[in-house]
């Protein structure tokens, strides 16, 4: 029994640090998702309300509901991505289904005063879509992907035997690299130095052919529970509790090849694969107000608290190295260094705070739908991307854990910034048929970027509402400009790929009033 308890204690008290700064913006920088009506007006629903998307933007908007509603949405996207890596262009296409909000709104009128009403809503949505492929290739005579393994091994400041171990301290990177001799110690004068095999090619002034294919899947989902109301006059309020659910998978394939015809220059090629998944759930809250200073005018303010998420990462990598002098191939899987199983790490991550200010002008807020004419609306959103934080989930984190997470959070503060997102849109209504247009711009979250980084949406749509049903159809064109740094080296400049993604999205919403 004592033996079992001791083993269990070892299992539960193991180290848990395992994150990188790029994970921070994954859960904070994404275009607005919503119903077809919301997306058609650029996502500018903050002060308008009366749409189930209000659950996830400004919960006070649910306070406009005085009738019950059930709705479901979905869409399809045709994605085209163009990358530029060291002067070489590459195109990639991908199609995918998108999941948009679905849920219920139940209007709860007060028993003795009909003017004041309350409403409850439950909805689920995909906040961010991670389905993507980034593919680039090009010649590089400046640095090698493998040098990060050499730097890591140097930084560990430990022996080769200590890394090549069934419970290794660098099981996915330095250990496979050492095992397959992609990095090794070599004599340099009187010193023994750590060198990566592709460096022989670079030292000779020749270039490496590099190629990366990174495929990501999954999404950030959220369940929202909202209670909202109004005073029957000018003020609406709403409180929402959200349960974000993370389901992310990343598969990276990176290859490097010797481009020379020389078969005795130490290195021929390597192929590195890295698979990791992140799963978990968390909790957040959204508070919102909408004020109507006079008829037809609506002003909104919403605050989204950070999402506190308990996440679990699972990882596996493999490396195939072909060397010369003599020609020989070596293979290694990270399973060799992780007791034959995928590695698992648990941690806490919080997403940044959001503040949304919004305003709209509604032409004719009257009950008779034949007299309702339309609206124009605008949202401006501030997202403090540098506010993402990582923490250990251990009750008593080790000094190493604390030091790493402190350094990681400082890097997040240093390389990211708060950004501004702007959303504009409008609708024209003709009795049962509606026409809409919208625009959205999402600024860069990076303090320093080698290429443009922003997202832009342009959208238009139609709606039909009659006999207790409503159907909305939207076309949205998304342009996403970003960059990818495939590896970072401490003593060399970063190489990067510029990315421009264009996506044609068709979104449909059907709903019923009851």
């Amino acid at each position: 029994m004592q033996k079992i308890l001791t083993l269990a204690a070892v299992f539960f008290v193991t180290n848990t640090y395992a994150q990188i700064p790029e994970d921070a913006v994954r859960y904070s920088w994404y275009p607005q998702n919503g119903t077809a009506r919301t997306l058609a007006i650029g996502g500018a629903i903050g002060s308008l309300g009366g749409d189930i998307t209000s659950n996830f933007i400004n919960p006070a908007g649910i306070g406009f509901y005085k009738t019950n509603e059930a709705t479901i949405s979905g869409g399809f996207a045709f994605n085209k991505a163009k990358t530029n890596y060291r002067g070489n262009n590459l195109n990639e296409t991908k199609q995918q289904f998108n999941f948009a909000p679905a849920g219920l709104v139940i209007a709860l009128p007060k028993r003795f005063e009909n003017k004041k009403t309350n409403a409850f809503s439950f909805a689920v949505t995909q906040t961010a879509n991670f389905n993507n492929v980034i593919h680039f290739k090009g010649l590089n005579n400046y640095s090698s992907f493998s040098e990060q393994f050499a730097e890591e091994f140097k930084k560990l400041n430990t022996s080769i035997d200590n890394v090549l171990n069934t419970n290794s301290i660098a099981p996915y990177t330095a250990a496979p690299a050492l095992y397959t001799y992609l990095i090794d110690t070599v004599r340099n004068g009187n010193n023994l130095i750590i060198k990566a095999a592709p460096e022989y090619i670079l030292d000779a002034g020749q270039a490496l052919q590099q190629e990366m294919i990174k495929t990501t899947k999954g999404g950030l989902y959220e369940l929202g529970f909202t209670y909202a109301g109004n005073d029957g006059k000018k003020l609406l309020w709403g409180v929402s509790v959200g349960i974000p659910i993370v389901n992310f998978e990343s598969n990276t394939l990176f290859t490097e090849n010797d481009t020379s015809n020389n078969s005795s220059n130490h290195f021929k090629s390597f192929t590195y694969t890295d698979n990791f998944t992140t799963k978990g759930a968390g909790l957040n809250a959204k508070l919102g107000l909408i004020y109507r200073p006079k008829e037809y005018i609506r002003l909104g303010l919403a605050v989204h608290t950070p999402s506190y998420m308990s996440l679990t990462d699972s990882r596996q990598s493999s490396l195939n190295t072909e060397l010369e002098n003599p020609i020989k191939t070596y293979n290694a899987s990270s399973d060799l260094f992780t007791e034959g199983k995928r590695g698992v790490a648990r941690y806490i991550q919080s997403s940044p705070l959001r503040v949304i200010a919004s305003g709209s002008y509604v032409f004719r807020e009257v009950e008779d739908v034949t007299k309702q004419r339309g609206f124009v609306s605008a949202d401006i959103e501030f997202v403090n991307h540098k506010g993402s934080r990582f923490n250990s989930n251990a009750e008593q984190p080790t000094v190493d854990d604390q030091t790493y997470f402190k350094g990681l959070n400082n890097v997040v503060k240093d390389i990211y910034k708060g950004n501004i997102n702007v959303k504009l849109g409008g609708e024209i209504k003709f009795n049962t048929i509606m026409g809409r247009l919208g625009f959205g711009y999402y600024g860069s979250p990076y303090k320093d970027a080698p290429a443009k980084a922003n997202k832009m949406t342009m959208s238009g749509g139609l709606g039909y509402r009659n006999k207790g049903f409503f159907v909305d159809l939207t076309y949205m064109y998304l342009i996403n400009k970003d960059f990818n740094i495939p590896y970072r080296l401490q003593n060399l400049q970063n190489v990067y790929a510029g990315i421009k993604q264009q996506s044609s999205n068709i979104i449909a919403t059907v709903g019923v009033k009851f």
Binding site: F64, N162, R315, L336, G343, N410, P450, Q493, F514
Partner: protein
């Protein structure tokens, strides 16, 4: 399963829409009329009577609700699968004094938890090591590393001279295996050795 869900959705949507099949369909975004509430005018109805009637109906429907009735000081319910010292337990052929699943088994499944740690110093020139000082803002002035996106220049050769292999990549493993991180030596691994395949000569 998908077909069943689809069918349920169609039935649900069809039944719900009946309310606004005739007349206008409200649009809450603009304005809609609150629902009319029919108040119960019998304000003197005793709530405890309602409660009692409900309790009787529930007890008639399912024997387990009878146990909620605290007006009786004995438990007349009979459940042959119940564990513990209930009245009449010694007549129960299934009686066993301990819950069958009471003693939870402890499963041990040790895993390697070292994943996706990165060299944070590679993100900027000034954030070096793992311990940037939070208090000294001046030492954390942002100076993010530059970018290289061309094969036409000879940055590498220039950089090579300055970075000097001997200092930066020398293999001098620390004998100190304390668990202090940074550059003072990684902690000793607890697993067994994985020998490298022989390297061709």
């Amino acid at each position: 399963m998908k077909n069943i869900l689809l069918l349920c959705s169609i039935v649900f949507f069809a039944s719900c829409s009946a309310v606004y099949k005739s007349g206008q369909t409200p649009d809450d975004l603009y304005y809609s009329k609150p629902k009319v509430v029919v108040e119960n005018t019998d304000k003197y109805e005793r709530l405890d009577n309602v409660y009692e009637e409900r309790q009787i109906r529930m007890a008639a429907y399912d024997y387990r609700w009878r146990t909620l009735d605290d007006r009786y000081d004995y438990n007349y319910s009979y459940n042959p699968y119940a564990y513990g010292y209930n009245y009449g337990y010694y007549y129960n052929p299934y009686y066993y004094s301990y819950p069958v699943y009471g003693q939870s088994a402890v499963f041990v499944n040790p895993k390697n938890t070292t994943i996706r740690k990165t060299n944070l110093a590679s993100y900027s020139n000034t954030v070096s090591g793992y311990t940037p000082s939070k208090s000294s803002n001046s030492s954390r002035t942002i100076s993010v590393r530059g970018y290289n996106n061309s094969n036409n220049q000879t940055y590498r050769n220039n950089t090579y001279d300055t970075r000097t292999y001997n200092e930066n990549r020398s293999y001098t493993p620390s004998t100190n295996n304390s668990n202090s991180g940074g550059n003072s030596g990684a902690p000793a691994s607890t697993g067994s050795s994985v020998p490298r395949p022989p390297r061709g000569q």
